[in-house]
């Protein structure tokens, strides 16, 4: 296995930037971190002051495999992740068939690994077939490698089912991940209920839809002593509920997406209702967007995810109301965030954002994976090189992903991942770096 000697980097160790600027990888692990390191036989990666971080971890991505490989498969998804600076991707289980039995967990792991790109870790369903009736064989699925249990794409169908799932997983099995949405407030919804629904006539989805489900989950965590992770948070009210639950000492965590942090409903209006801005939960108001940043800053929000939702252009390129929800973003998400922060929130420390994409999401995975998301001797050599000054235009036609529908197509962004390493192997490098 190759040895790599990283020299002259500004190293972020998962918590903070450190004074050492060199790092050596051997046998798939980080063997040394220090200054002025040398190692015979190692390939040198010259940093010239660029950033070296633990590989980015995305707790929420969709790969449509099995059943929708025309849109994306596990291999194209793993390569897309690598090209976006991600080294670990959690695959959502709302495929066809849904990932609700151990053999399908193994399928996701083995097919993902075949790409030799980003590591794909499967989330399994809460309910058999995502049918919302009976809980899955969670012990067996956990043993097979499931890292979360979720019926994502939909909320857990009933409070009773969620309660069972929380009781059954407890503190031992992987966390329950909830897609927070009150179905009866969603019916037929297309956009945030607010300015964009008033202007367009599109059916609105109120923020309360998310808040009600978050409140349900919190109540059941209090009741059961279980653990829950709310994914793709979008509303100010939900952030506030989780903030209070954390203060009360409940084991509740949450994430938000790159696009909810960097876009709001005004983008839908400005685009002329272009389906590239159609996501679920919808892009909400500027106030909601601000609350998400506040949630990041005060620690309420634990992770930033992509919710990479790949659709073939033939399926997504439709009038807004007819197009499916979801956008592809794995390959530009990090750049989107870095660029947006530099322009709008320069006061937010870069290391805070990096924490939300490395050590903080790693801590929500099963214990086996807690070594990810940190740079220290003995940790897996999952690493990402970031060039804060690199400016590039988002060009979906050059993507590794099969999806081509992205709100930032054609946008010049500054701050890009330029090389990705998993388990000590270089899995992707920006062509300009070669």
């Amino acid at each position: 296995m190759m040895k790599f000697l990283f020299k002259n980097f500004k190293i972020f160790n998962g918590k903070e930037f450190i004074k050492e600027e060199c790092l050596l990888t051997e046998e798939g692990k980080i063997s040394r971190v220090g200054s002025a390191l040398e190692c015979e036989g190692a390939e040198t990666v010259e940093g010239n002051g660029r950033l070296l971080t633990p590989g980015f971890i995305d707790l929420h991505a969709h790969f449509r495999d099995p059943g929708g490989e025309w849109n994306e498969d596990l291999q194209s998804g793993a390569r897309a992740g690598a090209a976006g600076g991600f080294t670990t991707l959690v695959a959502m289980p709302n495929t066809k068939p849904a990932i609700s039995e151990p053999a399908l967990i193994e399928y996701v792991i083995s097919h993902g690994a075949a790409a030799r790109a980003a590591r794909i870790l499967p989330a399994g369903c809460v309910s058999k077939g995502r049918g919302g009736k009976e809980i899955c064989e969670m012990e067996k699925m956990s043993e097979a490698g499931a890292v979360f249990f979720t019926d994502d794409g939909s909320p857990i169908a009933t409070s009773h089912l969620m309660r069972l799932a929380l009781l059954y997983t407890g503190k031992k099995l992987p966390r329950v991940m909830e897609h927070p949405e009150e179905i009866s407030l969603f019916q037929g919804g297309q956009v945030h209920e607010g300015r964009v629904s008033a202007m367009s006539g599109l059916k609105g989805i109120p923020g309360a839809s998310e808040e009600i489900d978050v409140a349900r989950g919190i109540a059941l965590v209090r009741d059961t002593g279980g653990r829950i992770h709310f994914t793709h948070l979008s509303s100010a009210g939900a952030v506030e509920l989780i903030r209070n639950a954390k203060r009360a000492g409940l084991d509740v965590s949450c994430d938000t997406t790159f696009h909810h942090l960097t876009l709001n409903e005004n983008a839908v209006i400005a685009s002329g209702y272009n389906s590239r801005f159609k996501v679920n939960p919808p892009l909400r108001s500027a106030n909601d967007q601000k609350a998400l940043w506040e949630g990041l800053l005060d620690g309420t929000i634990d992770a930033i995810v992509t919710d990479h939702a790949p659709w073939h252009l033939d399926d997504k390129d439709e009038p807004f109301q007819e197009a499916p929800f979801g956008i592809a973003s794995l390959e530009c998400a990090v750049a989107v965030l870095l660029d947006y922060r530099a322009r709008n929130y320069p006061e937010v420390p870069l290391e805070l954002l990096f924490r939300k994409m490395t050590s903080s999401p790693a801590a929500l995975l099963p214990e086996k994976w807690h070594g990810l998301g940190r740079i220290e001797e003995g940790a897996p050599a999952d690493l990402t090189v970031v060039d804060e000054d690199r400016t590039r235009i988002v060009d979906c036609s050059a993507w590794k992903s099969k999806a081509r529908c992205c709100p930032w197509e054609g946008t010049a962004l500054t701050g890009w991942p330029v090389a990705t390493f998993v388990g000590g192997e270089r899995i992707w490098q920006d062509e300009e770096e070669l």
Binding site: E193, G194, R195, S200, P206, P319, Q321, E322
Partner: protein, 308 residues
Amino acid sequence: MGWRHRSVIDLDGWTRDEFLFFLDQSRQMENVMDRPVKKVPALRGKMCVNLFFENSTRTRVSFELAEKMLSADVVNWSASGSSTAKGETMRDTAWTLESMGADIVVMRHGAVGAAQYLASKLKRGIVLNAGDGTHAHPTQALLDVYTAWKHYGDLEGRKIALIGDVLHSRVARSDVIAFRTMGCEVVLSGPPTLMPREVEDLGVAYEREPRDAVKGADMVYLLRIQRERQQEGLFPSVDEYHRWWGADEELMKRAKPGALAMHPGPINRGVEIASEVADGHQSVILEQVRSGVATRMALLYLCGGGAR
């Protein structure tokens, strides 16, 4: 003045001067309607396709009459039996229309953004939006403004009360933009369950009580109520709706004397409007229908190259 609009998807961005220019053109077109031979050669040799994915007799016939009076060749394409019903994407439909040489496509579609989408896919063809879902119905707003303008001349400072189901009304959204641009005060009224939550983002006031909304109004515009909204539970009964928000003579008395009673049609007698108002001396509902042909002629003429 020059005409800068090719496709017309909605009326956002139209200036007051453009409206006034358009209204003058509409008046000239209405003169054509009064001639013994109702035909001018303005669009001779142009092919218009009326592409209706939703049923709409009056808008489609109004456009067709307008197109024929301007001597365009007209093809009516309805969704039933079309390739769309067989699963063709709208992108393919657009490219098919382009290949067939369509110059102007008039489209009614149930999806918000459909007209904009079609326009974005056509390289040459012009798209006139005949209603996209609950978003916009620009030609309805143009005919409404034209009807009011013929009665009042300058509309600056006039007040219009729009009453009914604003939430699902493409007519209301387009009328709000059009009448506000003309300098009118616009007030909305109707059950809160049929009103957009952030109604102030439309730049208008909301009065729950129609009796308050119509005070001092020069125009009282009744929006059509679809009975399926009651089945969805958005209002309790047609009777209660009529009693509180329907327009009867009592309500009209609270507006300015001689205020116009307007409606986009087809009307639900005894629901949003009582017969004595629909057929009364204040009603301009049939004038609106006539205005529809004139304004659509003007729009086809201006966008179709007749003015260039």
